[in-house]
Amino acid sequence: MFNYNIKLALKSMRRNPIMTALMVAAIAVGIGISMTTLTVHYMMSGNPIPEKSDTLFAITLDSWNPLRPFNDDRPERGPHQVTFHDAERLIALGKAKRQTAMFESSLIIEPVNEDELPFEAGARVTNADFFSMFNVPFIYGSSWDKSADSAAEPVVVLTRELNERFYGGEDSVGERLTMQGIQFQIVGVIDNWEPTPRFYDPINGGFQDINEMFIPFTLTRALELGSNGSDWGWKSEETTTFEQWLNSESVWVQYWIELDSGSVNDRDDYVTHLNAYVGEQKKLGRFERPLNNRIFNVMEWMEYHEVVANDAKVLLGLSFLFLLVCLLSTIALLLTKFIGKTNEISLRRALGASRKVIFNQQIAEVAVIGTTGGLIGLALAGLGLQGIEYLYDAPAGLVRLDWIMMFAAIGMAITSSVIAGIYPAWRVCQIPPAAQLKTQ
């Protein structure tokens, strides 16, 4: 019966090729456009580290100007980064299960051979906990030891890409790289790691290429590392020496912690520790604003930074309205087409076909149209996503259709076309047997 229905469907589709083509096209562009925007939205709003997103937290401390809040429009918010010296002291206190402070910098890698050019590489300046907290995968070696953090040893973890460039992808652990005149020892190479969005640093762009290497936070002093990311300041302070800059009230370090669980209890406990620390600092005349220390888990932090651009939401909304138009077209076209088949249906009904059989046959036709439209729509969505990567200069492969999205697309195409087909099919079933034949 199924095969027979499909055969009839194909026959009927061939009889009205223009109408059929229009319906397939309507479903294809509808699915193509809505899947493109849906994929972009899905990628932007996805959970980049689902296994830990409830136990990782970014922290904010309100060390801002006593006269006015950090953000006039959102006065309840403290600055979203912390000062260097607060980060240093919080790490030393170590009240969480794991903690990491970090910022983005860059170093010049000096050439090994005379004919090579020096090369500037981005570096995330952080500590050993970074890798275990964020589940960073390694191909060679591992993170540096905590002792390297405390001794400020010049060690470096490379990305796969940088390791390919300098060592042709070979195990480079133990090799040395000269940067800023200092020999760094390579302790590990990480595998491709592209959490999307880049949740640990939404402040400097949520969807950019990953940094190229990692070095210990404690080297900041020795190497006088500056931040390539943003810094905010409110206090007029003398900062002519690097030490003065590190001790200033400028906020430019991002601070993350990992707790045993995301329970209210554990969260409150940690905030209590933060408040105790700030209380100590208040005695020294800092933190003059009311106590306002907060922690945000991964998804809360994404929300805080509005990682999903408003434009992406607007486009998503509009493209689903577009899909609605495509469905309305399909219903109108189907209705018209089925009415054109009145004679045939009357005849089949007169020859004994039940309403159910007629109904199923119409739905089969719609499903064939929907599947064809869905497949073409999927190809269009693939094209659309490439267009998006080009338009936004995104790293290749950043937005792509995964299996979930492909099944969703086909499912959506079939479901929506079948829904579109129900009313026309029902109408057709109301045609009385042979009634139509009489008028001839």
Binding site: L22, A25, L67, N310, D311, F322, A332, L391, Q440
Partner: protein, 402 residues
């Protein structure tokens, strides 16, 4: 005559026309709101910048090594760049306008810490900065060469005695009063004197609402990364860009040339989101209009075929070709207009949702009548060919069995 046969055929099959009207309504709502967003973005991207964007090249370099001397490196680089024929002016700057990377601070007209300062973008460049950006000074004077010193990270903060500010900033600070010669106060309550007013210029962050509030301090920033702004003779930019890159690369091996690009490219990157949205919406509405037109053509043709006998009968009873065309066009017009009326409501509903949920600007109502008129024209064009075909049905058809 006219309405009789048309209404009866419309009413006999209500669902079809209703669906088309609904489709037209949603199409109208999407098209008008999208067009409005597109216009907003295009307007935003085309705002006058006050800068000679087309003829400016920007270079980022960074030195390294023990014996690297940043001051002599910058001095030699700027001399080298200016020796290239076709270069009009060049300066080292702390930041590049329109690039998305910048420095911001707050200024006040009076030395009172309790007053909320006015947000401004801050640049620091030499006496050639204005010329290197092609920015016009509307009043006052530019910096004197003796006011311009190298600023190292270790330099004393040293408040500059003179600054240039934009007209918009002057008005935010002093209102109607003339800002020229007046002091402006920094966060530390030190003062600088306004010596010149720039008619108009954009700062670093194109999405910032205070984009046109700019203050310029005299100085040659000698930080880790040195940014050179270079203006060339009109039309020579693309030819000179590789020359500058090559000459800088050869002159000093203790420097990495991080990037040489046109200011046009940097600005385009800053507007990437706006441009992307405008392009995507343009594609969406083109497809949408194309689809709706095709559906109208398809359905009208089908109806003509279905009603061949009715048309033949009317012709046999004395209806002229023009009457048949009129009937089909009027039928189409009625459906379109019903769709347009519903569409007007939907358009405002959608506009309201966009405004409230996404802080988009309020829809300009004039887009609606323009949209409806366009809709009438397009749907009439779409329906004309099928109507003409209907009119060519010979009266003799009535006598035949279909």
């Amino acid at each position: 005559m006219g309405f009789g046969p048309m209404m009866s055929s419309l009413l006999r099959n209500k669902t079809g026309p209703l669906l088309v009207a609904l489709q037209i309504a949603v199409t109208l709502a999407i098209v008008i709101n999208s067009l409005f967003i597109i216009m907003q973005r295009v307007e935003k991207m085309n705002r006058p910048t006050g800068i000679d964007v087309d003829n400016v090249i920007v270079t980022y370099v960074r030195g390294f090594g023990e014996d690297f001397d940043v001051v002599s490196s910058i001095t030699n680089d700027i001399d080298l760049i200016k020796s290239i024929s076709g270069v009009v002016a060049a300066t080292v700057s702390n930041h590049v306008p329109l690039s998305g990377s910048g420095s911001g601070t707050g200024l006040r007209a009076v030395a009172d810490e309790t007053i909320t300062p006015i947000g401004v973008g801050r640049f620091r460049w030499s006496e050639e900065g204005l010329d290197a950006m092609g920015i016009e000074l509307s009043r006052g004077r530019n910096f004197y060469p003796q006011e311009v010193n190298y600023i190292l990270p270790t330099s004393e903060n040293g408040t500059p005695p003179s600054v240039l500010i934009t007209q918009d900033l002057a008005e935010s600070l002093f209102g109607e009063e003339d800002a020229l010669g007046k002091p402006v106060y920094w966060g530390d309550m030190e003062a600088s004197t306004v010596v010149g007013i720039i008619g108009h210029m954009h700062g670093s962050w194109v999405t910032w609402d205070k984009l046109t509030n700019v203050v310029i301090q005299p100085g040659k920033p000698a930080y880790t990364t040195n940014k050179y702004i270079i203006r060339v003779e009109p039309g020579m930019r693309d030819e000179l860009l590789p020359v500058i890159e090559q000459k800088l690369g050869e002159s000093n091996r203790q420097r990495v040339i991080k990037r040489v690009s046109t200011l046009e490219d940097l600005a385009a990157r800053s507007y990437q989101q706006d441009r992307g949205t405008a392009i995507i919406l343009s594609i969406v509405i083109s497809l949408l209009i194309g689809l709706t037109v095709l559906v109208i053509v398809g359905l009208s043709s089908f109806h003509v075929t279905q009603r061949t006998k009715q048309i033949g009968t009317r012709r046999a009873l004395g209806a002229r070709r023009i009457d048949i065309i009129k009937q089909f066009m009027l039928e189409n017009w009625l459906v379109t207009t019903a769709g347009a009326l519903l569409g007007a409501l939907l358009t405002f509903a959608l506009a309201y949702w966009l405004e409230v949920s996404f802080e988009l600007p309020r829809l300009d109502w004039r887009f609606l009548p323009a949209g409806i008129v366009t809709l009438w024209v397009m749907s009439s064009l779409a329906a004309f060919e099928p109507a003409r075909r209907a009119a060519s049905v010979p009266p003799a058809v009535a006598t035949r069995s279909v």
